[in-house]
């Protein structure tokens, strides 16, 4: 077996190896694909909790008097109106409206934001932000290499965190709403604690300097096991986000698509004053309407659709699957696909060409799975 000398490792690589992880490449990083059974990892997140190393993702700090208006120009959303201590999901687009990345931005202070791009796009997003910063009183700092990111996702996540924060921070944890963030002390380590995630469950993401990552991981694992937590890799992360109807950059989101095809029109703000990058192109696309739309498909048989399989209506190709897998939680195949705009209504029956055989699927509303709240 050849060992890549160019793959990057997170600060937790040795922990994953000791836990018996199988590794896979993601965006140039050697990341745990699974530690045992990816189905068991998926189910653990839905029933109890899972522990994820997401340190391959990027972290870019944006500070300065113009931080808000700069981000309003660089991204399609209205970041300047996000309250301190809250976060927003947004997109960064080209001037033609094509999607460069989807990302979460946390407002940490009046003039301070943390932007979190996907691992594979971090260098591109950094370069775009640096370029777009021209003329703004703002500093864009890449902290990706020094920052680790650990996620605890599942219904037991809050209980686990409560065992690891000091008494005076208990209320901070119980009171933290979805898409909020604050500094906290977890297992004696200073972290940025955020109630965000990519699984469709309640959960937290913890941003920590690399030096604190290993002890934090160990503490979360030790306390978490008592609540049913197990370490989880990228395989289960993918099946969880798919059930939750969340897009994955490179599959549902690409530079050839605008937010309107992807069903992310609400992410684009035309109310803000800034002439953000892509504004004119996106105004036009919104006005004319997208000709293809992202839909959720439920398999009526037992076989799963996979990325790139054609979608058919009465034998004619009308679209393409972007992601698909059997749903462990729901017990039927689920898929995301782009189809001709007129075929997007829930209940529409379509076929997917499964390796030469057309199999029936039905358009269903997203998300496929929603947690009990």
């Amino acid at each position: 077996m050849t060992v890549s000398t160019t793959s990057k490792h997170t600060a937790l690589h040795d922990e994953h190896a000791a836990l018996g992880a199988s590794f896979t490449d993601f965006g140039g990083w050697d990341m745990p694909l699974k530690y045992g059974s990816e189905l068991a990892e998926h189910r653990a997140v839905r029933a109890a909790a899972g522990l994820f190393d997401l340190s391959h993702m990027g972290e870019i700090r944006v500070t300065g008097p113009d931080a808000g208006t700069f981000l309003n120009t660089a991204l399609v959303g209205n970041l300047a109106v996000v309250a301190v201590g809250k976060a927003k999901y947004s997109l960064i687009c080209t001037s033609e409206g094509g999607i460069i990345d989807d990302l979460i931005t946390y407002r940490l202070g009046e003039t301070e934001y943390l932007v979190v791009p996907n691992a594979g796009n971090a260098p591109t997003v950094l370069a775009a932000l640096q370029e777009r910063a021209a003329g703004f009183d703002v500093t864009v700092t890449d902290e990706s290499a020094e920052t680790s990111l650990i996620a605890v996702q599942g219904p037991a996540a809050e209980a686990i965190l409560l065992e690891l924060v000091p008494a005076e921070q208990q209320e901070l944890v119980t009171g933290m709403k979805y898409y909020a963030a604050a500094e906290a002390t977890v297992a004696g380590t200073q972290v940025l604690l955020a109630r965000t995630g990519y699984t469709g469950e309640d959960g937290f993401e913890l941003y920590v300097p690399n030096a604190g990552a290993a002890s934090l991981w160990a503490a979360l694992l030790e306390i978490g096991r008592g609540h049913g937590l197990i370490p989880c890799g990228l395989a289960s992360r993918d099946s969880l986000r798919l059930e939750a109807g969340m897009p994955l950059y490179g599959q549902e989101l690409t530079r050839d698509l605008t937010p309107y095809e992807a069903g992310l029109g609400p992410v684009v703000s035309f109310k803000k004053e800034e002439d953000f990058v892509g504004r004119a192109a996106l105004e036009a696309r919104k006005a004319e309407g997208a000709t293809r739309t992202l839909v959720g498909l439920k398999g009526l048989g037992r076989r799963a659709a996979r990325a790139h399989y054609p979608v058919l209506k009465d034998g004619t190709v009308v679209g393409e699957v972007t992601s698909g897998a059997p749903s462990p939680t729901l017990g039927y195949p689920v898929a995301l696909a782009y189809v001709e705009a007129g075929l997007a209504a829930p209940g529409t029956t379509l076929d997917v060409d499964l390796r030469g055989r057309p199999e029936p699927f039905e358009v269903v509303p997203l998300p496929f799975y929603q947690r009990q709240k």
């Binding site: 699974k34 059974s37 189905l39 395989a235 099946s239 076989r303 799963a304 059997p326 462990p328 390796r355």
Partner: protein, 126 residues
């Protein structure tokens, strides 16, 4: 390390075959471990003919689909409905309850001894 049963013989494509008549066929633990959690199996029909070295079905895991090759030429006698119903059997008990189909053998394709298969695939003889 994946277990290789010494009482069976193996194809290079990771199927095992026993010495019974009709012969029972399944996939090895090496294959099951590589595939990951099996979610669907597509097996040949009873009464159909299979040809050594040719695909006769599919095994689908959460992430990927692999072809199932027949290690022998002959006629399919029985198909394991339990494995079709519960594909996880291929991961849990690939040499026992996870058997796939039986064949009235006319001709064998190239087969490896358990020792040869274990050496070629980093498996461990049980």
């Amino acid at each position: 390390m994946s277990t290789v049963l010494p009482t069976l013989r193996y194809s290079a494509e990771h199927e095992w075959i026993d010495d019974a008549s009709p012969a029972k066929i399944g996939i090895s633990q090496v294959a099951a471990d590589t595939l990951g959690d099996v979610v669907y199996v597509d097996l040949p029909e009873a009464g159909s003919t299979v040809t050594a070295g040719e695909a006769c079905g599919e095994i689908e895991s959460t992430k990927s689909v692999s072809e199932l090759f027949s290690p022998v030429t002959g006629t399919v006698v029985e198909v394991n409905a339990e494995a079709a119903e519960n594909p996880a059997l291929l991961n849990e008990d690939p040499y026992g309850a996870g058997w796939l189909f039986t064949v009235e053998v006319d001709e064998e394709g190239p087969l490896l001894s358990a020792q040869e298969y274990a050496e070629a695939n980093g498996g461990e003889l049980a």
